[in-house]
């Protein structure tokens, strides 16, 4: 039994002081906010659109962690310390103290993954499965891939070795892209992200000049790929419809590599000591669950090594939803197994997602 540190106030004066309260269990939660999804990014977004409707502003504000927490769970205390936005909440019912903080760079995210016993939630882009991605602002550039300062910015690789993305994604984000050359063998299905697997049999080698009808766009793409626009190098590609806005377009195969030794900011090189990891970006159960649980072998062990994902494209704000239900679990929980607490939080969060018309769930 741990030493009692709290004495009930009513017993402090003249009543012998022999009624004691066990200290609460402290659950430390690090919320890692990825590129374009930092708290600051979202406040900047609101400031840039002064004509936005009150509903639109309220919708963005409702998803900002930790700012949105007190409205969801009265009693949450917000503060800033050492440049990080933090929140504290004590649940008397659970006898659990929640100590929450935000980080928005890769080094601190990796430190959190390696910290014994804590909860790490990544809230940001999934990068089509490549992994959590960090940067101070969403301007186009290498922070959307390997990072301008890789220790702090860019991808933490957590995906299958080969991931396909639509050409418009490469162009929009303006990063240097490492395409899979057709001089190498066609990738086998097992090395590909599940979204790419139905297309593996019809991968076709294409020059950059054949990837887009507009020569100016081809020139930009060639610069990002590091070849001449009219060069003869060919890369593995396929054509498919990614979304309604862009229609049918060329998809290129990227080297994504969760275990690429040339890029140490990856899952293979990281020892996870946290008790729970959640990746709340788009469709991460499909993209990243098999990599962490099967390839990396970080499997559930009794009451530790929990992991949660999303089943489909997700929206920001899931962190606020999930945490607010965990924090209001209506049972005593200190020192107990986390399983009933987590099951409750996931079930209630999923009920809320369904109720609000979202097409994804936590899993």
């Amino acid at each position: 039994m741990s030493d009692p540190i709290l004495v009930a106030a009513s017993r402090r004066a003249g009543e012998g002081g022999n009624t004691v309260v066990e200290p609460p269990e402290v659950r430390r939660i690090v919320v890692a906010q990825g590129i374009e999804f930092t708290r600051q990014n979202r406040h900047d977004l609101i400031a840039k659109h002064p004509d936005a409707s009150p509903e639109a502003v309220a919708s963005v504000l409702a998803g900002i962690f930790p700012d949105a927490m007190p409205a969801r769970v009265p009693g949450v205390f917000l503060y800033e310390w050492e440049g990080r936005h933090r929140a504290l909440y004590y649940s008397a019912t659970q006898h659990v103290m929640y100590a929450m903080e935000t980080v928005d760079d890769k080094r601190r995210f990796m430190e959190a993954l390696g910290t014994e016993g804590i909860i790490v939630i990544y809230d940001g882009h999934a990068r089509y499965g490549r992994g959590p991605c960090f940067g101070p602002d969403p301007a186009p550039g290498d922070d959307w891939e390997a990072g301008t300062e890789p220790t702090y910015r860019g991808l933490f690789r957590m995906g299958f070795p080969h991931i396909a993305v639509p050409v418009h994604e490469v162009l929009t984000h303006g990063y240097r892209a490492t395409l899979l050359p057709a001089s190498e063998p066609r990738p086998d299905r097992a090395s590909c992200d599940p979204d790419m697997r139905p297309h593996v049999d019809r991968l076709a080698p294409l020059r950059v000049s054949a990837m887009h009808p507009d020569s100016a766009v081809v020139a930009q793409l060639a610069r990002q790929v590091g070849v001449e626009p009219e060069g003869d190098e060919r890369f593995w590609t396929y054509h498919a419809t990614g979304d309604a806005e862009h229609g049918r377009e060329c998809h290129v195969v990227l080297r994504a590599g969760w275990s690429d030794p040339s890029y140490p900011f990856n899952l293979a090189a990281t020892e996870l000591r946290c008790r729970m990891f959640c990746h709340l970006g788009c469709s991460t159960f499909s993209h990243n669950y098999p990599v962490l649980r099967k390839l990396k072998g970080w499997k559930r062990e009794g009451d530790a090594r929990f992991a949660y994902w999303t089943t489909a494209p997700s929206l920001s704000g899931t962190t606020v939803t999930f945490l607010s239900h965990l924090m209001t679990y209506p049972e005593y929980s200190a020192g107990e197994s986390w399983v009933p607490w987590l099951r409750y939080g996931v079930r209630k969060a999923n009920q809320e997602l369904r109720r609000t018309g979202m097409k994804y769930q936590l899993i």
Binding site: E36, A62, A71, R72, V73, P74, H125, A126, R127, Y128, P138, F160, E169, A190, P194, D195, P198, G242, D243, A244, E245, C282, S283, F285, S286, Y289, P290, V291, K294, L295, T311, A312, P313, L315, S324, H325, M327, T328, P330, G357, K359, Y360, Q361, I363
Partner: protein, 189 residues
Amino acid sequence: MTPDELEAELDALPPGQVPAMASLARRVRGEALALPNAALRRAESADAGRVLAARHLVGELDDLTIRAILDAASPPSVEHQVWRLGTAVAAIVSLRARAAERLREALGDRRRVPIEPYPPHIEEQPYPRRVCDEAYLMLRELLHVGESRGRFALDARAYLRLTDDEKDAEIARITAGEPFTRLVDDLEA
């Protein structure tokens, strides 16, 4: 609580606040279950003469009894335990059959479901879907109980990626009584 009082409570609720809504839900549930709970207590009394009509009523209440039974404390005897479980399961099976019937009707509805597009900076967009596609996935979730949550999530994603013709063929298969198709070969890497 009267319906008017409920309206007033809802009007006064702070928007989005989780504990306040949970508290209201507990009160509404408690009041809604007061009568089924009373019938359940009587159905398990030691006085055999009082039991028969109460058991009849509990059976007639169908889905209203499920929550009352599942939330109730341990029953006084083995006989009561088995009766309770049987009553709850009968109500669940009946409810599931009714939901499945509605979903089967919806399998013929090819209208598009309007989906609010995600903001442009969100990388992946939700797959387009029709009423019949939603019904197919819900029916699969409802009836295919041997399928794990993970398997279902991956197969649902794979189903939504199919063309409409491919989806229609899958719907035709299950409408003809064939089993749901496993669309993703492996949960493994």
